[in-house]
């Protein structure tokens, strides 16, 4: 829940945003730290992880201290990246990976029965890795202890992004906008629109998406199945874009701007354009820290396709510790590879596309993306059963 609770607005957002603007500039990062740490502990205790989850605040303290030793070209940056990945593997993938090796929990001697996900771990690890890599490359300033801690504990974006960059956050923290009225008007509008999208559209779709389980799929008439899947496509877009709206609007109340996450992705006419406008901050992170280091598109064509598949495989695995997410990632990797090969083969267009061509391209993109959601919202056997019923009856 978090963003759709009164506690978020009354205990955290409004007091923090007001205090942030009232204190002197040197104290502003400390306002972010105090409220960020309280936010993490409060919502860990009340919603995810409990006391052990709340104790994970030490990860932020450790990261801040350790990151002070980062220097350009230093081995410590690489150690920082490795320890961040280890944190993520332990909390998110432990049971998944040991399960692949040993099978079901009852046969798995390493099964962690009390496994929990620390609040926002999938997102704050992106920011930890980004900072370590950029300090290694020498492309970001270190900033002060308090500034880096404010960056990683900035609560509007802590739980589910948008994934920030230190280079853009730091100037915003040092010199936030002083236009109270404009920022609050825009910020509040964004938050209200986000909440309305969540409640009135995303949650309404739950009536359909609840049926995406084996028993209901087996009983359903075939024509209903695409409607349920389409409803999930609508739900996930409005749910996550609503979340991003509230995060971006919340940051605006502080006088700060954070990256956009969505820009009409379902209106796009090819899969590459879709990914440039869906979860934009993740797309850019994957581009900068996975795809380009792998060689990007400046390699021989077969290697580019492998880079695409590998990047999207990691994207899928990041979304969840399950084989269905791996298949979802590979599906998108395959679509991107096919689109790339098609674009190369077709060459540059001389004429603008026709209306029919645009509509056909849009429909293909929309349908293939929505087909992929089957692997995102159901486990692999259920998704396979769903697609079998959908296509073979």
């Amino acid at each position: 829940m978090i963003f759709n609770t009164f506690a978020y607005f009354i205990l955290f957002l409004v007091p923090a945003a007001i205090l942030f603007r009232l204190v002197r500039p040197a104290a502003q990062p400390w306002v972010c730290i105090a409220f960020g740490a309280s936010f993490f502990i409060f919502f860990s205790l009340t919603q995810v992880g409990g006391a052990f989850g709340a104790a994970c605040i030490v990860i932020f303290i450790w990261e801040t201290i350790f990151s002070r030793f980062y220097k350009q070209g230093s081995l410590l940056c690489l150690v920082g990246i490795a320890q961040t990945v280890v944190f993520l593997i332990i909390f998110k993938y432990w049971n998944f990976l040991t399960g692949l090796a040993f099978g079901a929990p009852q046969h798995n001697p390493f099964y962690w029965a009390g496994a929990f996900l620390p609040l926002g771990i999938s997102f704050f690890t992106f920011e930890f890795i980004h900072y370590a890599v950029d300090r290694y490359r020498g492309t970001t300033a270190p900033g002060k202890f308090s500034e880096y801690m404010a960056f990683i504990l900035f609560f509007p974006t802590m739980v589910a992004g948008p994934i920030k960059r230190y280079q853009t956050f730091l100037p915003s923290l040092r010199e936030p906008s002083l236009e109270w009225a404009g920022d609050w008007r825009m910020g509040m509008t964004r938050i209200l629109v986000g909440l309305a999208k969540k409640f009135a559209i995303a949650d309404l779709m739950t009536a359909f998406t609840n049926h995406l389980n084996h028993a209901d799929i087996a009983k359903a008439q075939r024509w209903v199945l695409p409607i349920w899947l389409l409803a999930y496509g609508i739900k996930i877009y409005f749910d996550f874009s609503a979340y991003s709206d509230i995060a971006i609007g919340s940051a605006r109340l502080f006088g700060m701007k954070v990256p956009e996450n969505f820009d009409w992705p379902y209106a796009r006419t090819n899969i590459a354009e879709f990914w440039k406008h869906w979860h934009i901050s993740l797309y850019r992170w994957l581009l900068d820290y996975v795809f380009i280091p792998l060689g990007g598109s400046r390699c021989r064509p077969p290697r580019v396709l492998v880079n695409l598949l590998l990047t999207m495989f990691l994207s899928g695995l990041w979304h969840g510790a399950g084989l269905n997410f791996v298949v979802w990632g590979l599906w998108h990797g395959l679509l991107l590879a096919v689109h790339r090969a098609w674009s190369k083969w077709r060459g540059k267009r001389e004429e603008p596309p026709s209306a029919v061509g645009i509509i056909a391209a849009w429909a293909i993109t929309f349908l293939t993306v929505n087909l992929g959601w089957a692997f995102f919202c159901m486990d692999l056997p259920t998704a396979s059963f769903f697609l079998k019923r959908l296509f073979l009856g």
């Binding site: 589910a160 409640f199 603008p352």
Partner: protein
């Protein structure tokens, strides 16, 4: 993925930049440039309503008035109150 073409974080109307009006497009049943311009305006309109853009689209300056803002906030609050009983967890919180 193509590292040369970065997504535009400022939400410039990239879908939307209408292709030039060439003789080919004028001959077709639908005037693509006009349709694109119309879609671009609609996108700008909704982006402004959702506070993703700072300025209203051309010809819709009334959207910047306090009266309109009050109506819009009222509408959003009404929708929130109407539907908030069925609320569920945000999907990405579990990721």
């Amino acid at each position: 993925m193509n590292e040369v073409q970065q997504p535009n974080p400022e939400l410039e109307p990239d879908v939307a930049s209408p292709p030039p009006s060439t003789p080919e497009t004028r001959r077709s049943l639908f005037d693509i440039s006009k349709i694109s311009a119309g879609l671009c305006w609609i996108k700008h309109f909704f982006d402004y309503l959702s506070a993703s853009r700072e300025e209203p689209p051309p010809g819709a300056d009334f959207l910047a008035s306090p009266l309109w803002l009050g109506v819009w906030w009222g509408l959003m609050i009404g929708l929130i109150l109407l539907f908030c009983g069925q609320t569920s967890k945000f999907i990405y919180i579990d990721f």
